[in-house]
Amino acid sequence: MTHGKLLTGNAAAAWGARLADVDYVPAFPITPQTEMIELLAQWAADGTIPARFVTLDSEHSMLTAAGAAAAAGARVFTATSSQGLLYGFEMLYTIAGWRVPLVLVNVSRGLSSPITLEADHNDILAARDSGFLQIHTETCQEVVDTILMAYRLAEDRRVMLPVLVNLDGFTLSFTREPVILPEPEMAAAFLPSYQPDHAFIRGHRPMAQGTAVLGGAAYSYFRYQQHRAQENALQVYQEIAEEFHTCCGRYYGLVEPFQLDDADYVLVMSNAFATKGKVAVQRLRAGGMRIGLLRLRVLRPFPAAAIAAVLEGRKAVAVIDQNLAPGLGGITYQEIAAALYDNPARPALLSIVGGLGGKDISEAEFDAIAEDVKRAAAGARVVGPRLLYTQPEWERMHTLLRIAGKEVEA
């Protein structure tokens, strides 16, 4: 008998909020996040959770309410996706600047236009400079565990910044798989109730929060303090990861190495499609190739040293970005290249862009990447980014264009 219960990524996220004993949930539904909000609404309505659940009129209002409640000293949970995250974008920077410790779950979904529903990471990565910390998850189990860890990280006095937890739309949000829920007592012992020490509302202690500054020196001070706090978060995260391991038996590092011990070649991936990468690694290993996978998990703060330590000395590394910065290429590729640049043992580094809008990454595409890293290791210069797009997909696209009347210019 397998332990645990079958939960979707969305249900696991709702359970994370429930086990974190949150006080306030401002909400605005958006596909593919809606089920999370439905569950929390139901639990708040029937008294299962003591939280106050409020629907707002937009994601901008939702994030404003979330930040304001956090500034009043409440433990706050909220969630959005894609267009919703962008609609509330102004408030991301604002809330981070307030130095309040809420948790915001993003369910990744490709950005418009053209509008779509399935996952890629341009939504969450657009927020990479907002001051929010970012943790990206691969499994439903990791979603619930990460939310508990995220509150510890956010509320630590050495950090005091909000955290974005990412899970992929459809491939995780709607996918049920076995999840072991931490016992409520275990969760409460790991994550005690929030004791705000700088942002709160008390009748006997009036204060102004989030005040304006003029003059760059004051602004620079406050903005750079966010960077210092993010730097601290690397160490704090590792302490929390150890503690979570002791408490609940599951360990989540800044990055996750997979079959890397003897690997000459490495695939770098993040989120739910990393599972597909792991299968590809197993298959390629069965064929005799010494390959492994590095999964990016904490993306802000960016664990440059941890990544460089894993990748240095390898023959070739392919960074598979499920995102696209038009005019540049894959986003995490740039950051990993920067992390390796001054390392004398840096490997050949390839940029791959794939899985945009949730497009599948097939075995054939992993095989093509495997050939590329071998060529790069043999000294060939492989110019990226390389887009993963198969011949049958190209032919289907042409059929669609024909149906749309795109044979000749209008």
């Binding site: 079958l6 798989e177 599972t275 599948d360 149906i403 749309a404 009347g405 210019e409 209008a410």
Partner: protein
């Protein structure tokens, strides 16, 4: 690992069927993953759901390309280009179709060269639950049998899903009866076997995407007025039928039809275009004199 793919239309309950199967297998001690995939929410539009069942943690995600069992909720999906239930169905794959037609008739409409199983589950559902909402139970239970799960495990999985659905006690009982009846209907069918060795995936070349001019590369559609070509009549499970003797020609149905599938004839009586009508039954509900009835679609 066993990979089961369900094809249905929004509202037919195939997501729930995939979860009934998933919960039953999980109850029996297997590792399970299940997930639906659908576009923007439209009742009647083709959707799919996937259940994976294994002894070890499942390192797969997303759509099942090569299934061991494909369950099809109605036979109109077999020829539906947006559904393509036969995609990746080799000779190893068992195809289970809910249809009023028989196997010989369906062989003519599909290119499937593997095992084909056909039964009229809808008739059973209507008989025992009086609504169509039980199709998830029937096809979910048919699938639990086909993967070799016991009736006890199947009912345990079903019960979990019924509890989640917060049904009335009467509906709950009716669904359990339906499950028993379904099990009796399919029990002579030999369960499917795990594929020996992994399926060979054909090597596929990657393409380097060239620049296309913006008139082509922008997500616009030049082909105007093509929506009438999309016959959505197959989405219908119930058909609105006008009884002119009750019709006062008030035009409410004509005004309210969200698909503009109702026009007026020269005497101002409504005429339903069944090629387009999706069977939302808004006309049935809105008609002040109850001149429309809902008739079960039989194809």
């Amino acid at each position: 690992m066993l990979r089961i793919r369900f094809h249905g239309r929004g509202g037919q309950g195939m997501k729930t069927a995939s979860r009934i199967l998933g919960s039953a297998a999980f109850h029996a001690g297997y590792v399970v993953q299940d997930a639906p995939v659908y576009g923007a929410e439209r009742r009647g539009a083709p959707m799919a759901a996937f259940t994976r069942i294994a002894h070890a943690p499942i390192l797969e995600r997303g759509a099942i390309v090569q299934a061991d069992l494909v369950v099809v909720a109605d036979d109109t999906l077999l020829t539906e280009p947006a559904a393509q239930p036969l995609a990746g169905c080799g000779a190893h794959c068992t195809l289970l179709v809910n249809s009023t037609r028989d196997e010989t008739a369906l062989r003519h409409t599909t290119s499937h060269d593997g095992r084909l199983l056909v039964a009229d589950f809808t008739a059973l559902v209507l008989k025992l639950t009086q609504t169509l909402t039980g199709l998830s139970t029937a096809l979910g239970i048919a699938a639990t049998h086909m993967v070799g799960l016991s009736l006890a495990d199947s009912l345990a999985g079903l019960t979990e899903e019924l509890d989640d659905a917060q049904l009335s006690p009467a509906q709950h009982r009716a669904n359990l009866q339906l499950a028993q009846a379904t099990y009796a209907l399919v029990r002579s069918w030999e369960p499917i076997q795990e594929r020996q060795g992994e399926a060979l995936v054909p090597a596929t070349a990657l393409v380097e995407m060239p620049f296309d001019p913006p008139w082509r590369a922008a997500p616009s559609i030049y082909a105007a007025a093509n929506s009438p070509a999309r016959h959505t009549g197959s989405w219908r499970q119930f058909r609105p039928v006008l009884h002119p003797e009750h019709c006062t020609r008030c035009w409410v149905c004509f005004v309210r039809c969200p698909e503009a599938a109702i026009t007026l004839d020269c005497d101002d009586f409504p005429v339903v275009d069944y090629d387009v009508c999706k069977g939302c039954l808004l006309c049935v509900h809105e008609c002040p004199t109850h001149a429309f009835s809902a008739e079960k679609e039989v194809r």
